[in-house]
Symmetry: C2
Subunit: 282 residues, 2 copies
């Protein structure tokens, strides 16, 4: 499977601390060593680094750990291949352009037999269920709004409708950003927190590293971090509820919804179903 | 202005030798120090590195010089800003997806008052004439072929028709690749050569570095290099004719055409015109 890391900030912030801990899971504290990727927005522009080496060994990951790129929206992904080849074209995050903005998407989970009709407007380059879901989401946004850019709230409403439909096909935890804000959705596992004034110490779980954020921040800073598994010992991480969607902007949640996923209800009523459909997923 | 570097190869090849010389022009042997970018295809996937630091100082360029990424199609660009802000979103090359493939485009030259109608299918993220031209080219390809991928020859025919129309607005030298092949077009300045068996020595112009390609190649290797200004002393670079389009695949030209650009004819007949329209371009 894989793990996700997202960051949404009020002011441009570097992710080196969180990425140092997160990338340890690519072979040291965990075995997510089949490629990694990270995307940084700088205003409307986006830098996307991907590699099919592990985030522990990749010289590109090394650059990211040591070159403090400041960004308001970051999405990173480390992969443990359970199915599908370890190729660059299957490495998350994926990138597309819509409404004169880059969009970045990374997914945690597996979708089974998910082959939705696509218009051709967005077509997967690789052969993952994840990129197919991304193209389908963007297609549905164009279907809803045409080529006029809608508000973040309007985008949220469409994602809130489409995401649980995709989640009928399996596990669908994702981070999605257009550089303005970060949309996140979880069916099984995702956590978030906000770091803000007055800032505290934080100690990584995956590496014996501590930082005193009060020494490296200003009162204007505020950072939301979204991650599959909590990154630090001594901070209050909140777990997403099943089907929860959260929109982050300026380093804080600005909109939340719990979507209704029929499959989750069926699994609650019959736990045996859950065992069967998720056996290959974790 | 800026400079272009393209590479198209029969077998995956690293560009470190050529990029070492080329990137010297970003502040040492020339003053193209306002950002750089380089895109590497690996099959259908693409790695795109951009930075608004110079290719001499950027840690990302340093990574590219030292990490031999093997690729069949590479496009690089170093910028000297004559107009437009030095922002990441205005850094070449630009990326879009069409027909389930990434497309990469870099432009040398200036287009004046070039504001073609765009469908919305591809929209510029930044505000350069270059990205607008790229979006227009892709729009015209969709206009011609819809969402069914045509052959390289069919794509060539559309580019051969559209490119001289865009060149009416100014200087339009470009490299464009979809990972299968590399399309190149020149109005004023572009050079190419093919390195193939039996390989020889090559000595960089911008740096006192020589390589004996016969020591680092096999007879199957073949590499076409496309560049604004020749990179080596002792190789035979061919200059593009005004309006020439060349399609490279498997490390060699497979199709060529000289397009007819009305503006060039007017300038030939009246050299004063050329002086006026190109004064700010070189």
């Amino acid at each position: 499977m894989c793990q996700l890391l997202g960051m949404n900030c009020a002011t441009p912030t570097d992710i080196t601390f969180s990425f140092r801990g997160f990338s340890q899971r690519a072979g040291i504290t965990s075995d997510h060593s089949d490629g990694f990727g990270i995307a940084f927005f700088e205003d409307k522009a986006c830098r996307l680094f991907v590699d099919n080496q592990s985030a522990v060994e990749s010289p590109i990951a090394d650059l990211v750990r040591n070159y403090p790129i400041k960004s308001r929206n970051v999405i990173a992904h480390i992969r443990k291949a359970t199915q599908g080849k370890i190729t660059l074209e299957n490495s998350h995050p994926f990138i597309r352009e819509l409404w004169g903005r880059h969009w970045i998407f990374a997914h945690n989970g597996d979708l089974h037999d998910f082959n939705p009709p696509l218009s051709g407007r967005f077509t997967p380059v690789g052969n993952t269920d994840s990129e197919r879901a991304f193209c389908y989401l963007l297609d549905q946004l164009v279907e809803a709004f045409g080529y006029e850019e809608p508000s973040l709230e309007q985008i949220f409403e469409v994602l809130e409708k489409i995401s649980p439909q995709i989640a009928e096909y399996g596990t669908f935890n994702y981070c999605l950003s257009n550089g303005k804000a970060l949309f996140s959705y979880a069916i099984t596992k995702l956590h978030w927190l906000v770091r803000e004034y007055p800032f505290n110490h934080a100690h990584l779980i995956d590496l014996d590293v501590e930082v005193d954020f009060s020494q490296v921040t200003t009162p204007e800073d505020r950072v939301a971090v979204i991650t599959t598994e909590p990154l630090t010992h001594n901070e209050n991480w909140t777990a997403y509820q099943p089907g929860e969607m959260i929109l982050f902007q300026h380093g804080q949640p600005i909109k939340k919804a719990i979507t209704f996923v029929e499959r989750l209800k069926r699994e609650q009523e019959n736990p045996e179903l859950k065992r069967i459909t998720r056996a290959d997923q974790y």
